[in-house]
């Protein structure tokens, strides 16, 4: 366990070292945050609620989305693609450490840095715009929210690991990964709450794992779900976690068999 803590610590230092890259990533998030915040503000200017969201709830959705995006959807998956394609992964395979755990520790360090930065952005925006945030009325909602966030954390980790493992079979996985990330962000509820979409599209999406990454935890936080839907959501998160974890581990094992350490 200690060695994974060292990976976490070193990756944290590395993330803080590459401040320009961090700044660039955060500028992207701030631009998205600002555009969505003002879009929803404009839409709700003359009405008290929109799609069942009060003004405070909708703006809280945007602000909390920025925090969840930073924590759940940040990953080093692109690094893994590069490591496989260039053969650098060989050096990790020879070390007395599990690559799976190594990636988890490395991802967690990035999530900590991004979450810290996202918190600062949200507080700055709240201060500048004198906006108010919705707080759940019961501690039960807060507890369920944090459980859902951790579920989303592991689901996304397995998903990203699975898609990055494509690099074992092709050196051209950057394009599919880009496509996957965009599809995931839209269907996870990053750009808008999924309630905006027609009910039949929402029905399809809820069979997939994506809405359980951002939209589901935020719906719990905003107390928009009854207990039965929350429990159903947890069940879906659990099922997808098992499926994705199992498939990711299987693909990883198969990938290692075809890996030829090209360039390594």
């Amino acid at each position: 366990m200690k060695k994974y803590f060292y990976v976490f610590s070193l990756s944290l230092q590395q993330a803080m070292q590459h401040r320009a890259s961090l700044l660039m990533d955060r500028v992207r998030s701030v631009a998205l945050l600002l555009s969505l915040y003002f879009l929803w503000s404009a839409l709700m200017q003359n009405q008290d609620s929109f799609l069942g969201y009060s003004r405070t709830q909708m703006l809280s959705y945007v602000l909390c989305m920025n925090l969840l995006r930073a924590f759940v959807l940040s990953t080093h998956a692109w690094d893994m693609v590069g490591e496989i394609s260039s053969g650098r992964i060989s050096s990790y395979l020879l070390r007395p450490i599990r690559y799976f755990g190594f990636c988890l520790a490395r991802d967690f360090s990035q999530k900590v840095v991004f979450l810290g930065s996202a918190l600062l952005e949200v507080f700055l925006l709240l201060w500048c715009l004198r906006a108010t945030v919705y707080f759940p009325g019961s501690w039960r909602s807060v507890f369920f929210f944090f459980v859902a966030v951790w579920g989303a954390f592991f689901m996304y980790f397995f998903l990203a690991f699975l898609v990055s493992s494509l690099a074992f079979w092709t050196s051209e996985s950057a394009g599919p990964l880009f496509c996957f990330e965009l599809l995931l962000q839209f269907t996870a509820g990053v750009f808008f709450p999924l309630d905006v979409l027609p009910p039949y599209v929402q029905g399809w999406l809820h069979v997939l794992p994506f809405p359980y990454l951002i939209y589901f935890p935020l719906s719990i936080y905003l107390e928009k779900l009854p207990l039965s839907s929350i429990l159903h959501g947890f069940m879906m998160q659990g099922v997808w976690m098992v499926i994705l974890g199992w498939v990711a581990a299987g693909v990883w094992r198969k990938g290692l068999r075809v890996y030829m350490a090209e360039g390594g």
Partner: protein, 261 residues
């Protein structure tokens, strides 16, 4: 001019062949770009199922703003994609190679790559712009169309000025590789009509980082919501920005002492 077109054509063909040789990655990127366009389009249409207007703009008008943003952004990426590799070009010594060639080094750097994926994304955007115009017959006339096209071209010119300034900074400092990405990210603020932002943000997006001039002004001119004063301001701004960025580029070249090779 003919020489530059021939060089550009050679580069474009080479870029296209490169993209064909990595077809899986290219298809992934193209699909990603189309998904982004499609989902935002669906999002705008979906929110108008629950509201009649966005800051006074109808669905077709809001879609026009969104498509204009895409039009300017995609054309800029299609033609000035080379700037994204500005730092690498400098650090690996390719700029030295460009300097001894009988063509402008700025042209070689800016147009060193032609992203045909953006060309394929441009086709549906242009088709959708045409369809959107047909949904706004009350605004469609020679002058509105003329000013729309002129201001879109003006927006592309401002994008060029920003790209040239970024290239100049890369040559001058051999750093700042992320500057162009910061511009790209800020550019997304132009996805929706500029009127949705607070007056302070609007001011910044018009005068400091003129994203509004690039993306919102053409649609506003088409809808007859832009005064002649602002139209003249747009042209003045683009001329000033182009002059400034070219001056910066020339200064950067004078300061350049070769980095690599």
């Amino acid at each position: 001019m003919k020489k530059y077109f021939r060089v550009w054509w050679r580069i474009a063909v080479a870029s296209l062949l490169t993209q064909f040789s990595t077809w899986l990655s290219s298809v992934g990127y193209l699909l990603g770009k189309l998904i982004r366009l499609f989902f935002f389009f669906i999002f705008i249409v979906a929110i108008f199922q629950h509201t009649k207007s966005l800051k006074g703009y109808s669905l077709a008008q809001t879609v026009l703003f969104f498509l204009t943003f895409n039009l300017v952004d995609i054309v800029a990426q299609l033609f000035f994609r080379g700037i994204y590799a500005a730092r690498r070009i400098v650090m690996e010594g390719d700029l030295d190679f460009f300097l001894v060639q009988p063509a402008s080094p700025l042209f070689r750097m800016a147009c060193g790559t032609v992203d045909f994926l953006d060309f394929f994304t441009l086709i549906p955007v242009l088709a959708l712009v045409g369809m959107t115009f047909s949904h706004l017959p009350e605004y469609l006339n020679f002058f509105s169309l003329f000013f729309y096209v002129l201001l879109v071209l003006n927006g592309i010119l401002i994008a060029l000025a920003i790209h040239v300034a970024v290239a100049a900074m890369a040559v001058w400092t051999q750093e700042l590789e992320n500057t162009i990405w910061i511009y790209r990210d800020l550019m997304t603020l132009g996805r929706f009509p500029i009127d949705i932002y607070s007056s302070a943000v609007r001011w910044v997006l018009t005068l400091a980082i003129p994203i509004a001039v690039m993306t919102s002004f053409p649609a506003q001119a088409f809808l007859g919501k832009l005064s002649l004063g602002w139209i003249l301001f747009s042209f003045g701004l683009s001329i000033a920005m182009i002059s400034l960025s070219l001056g910066l580029w020339n200064k950067a070249l004078k300061e350049y002492t070769s980095v690599s090779s």
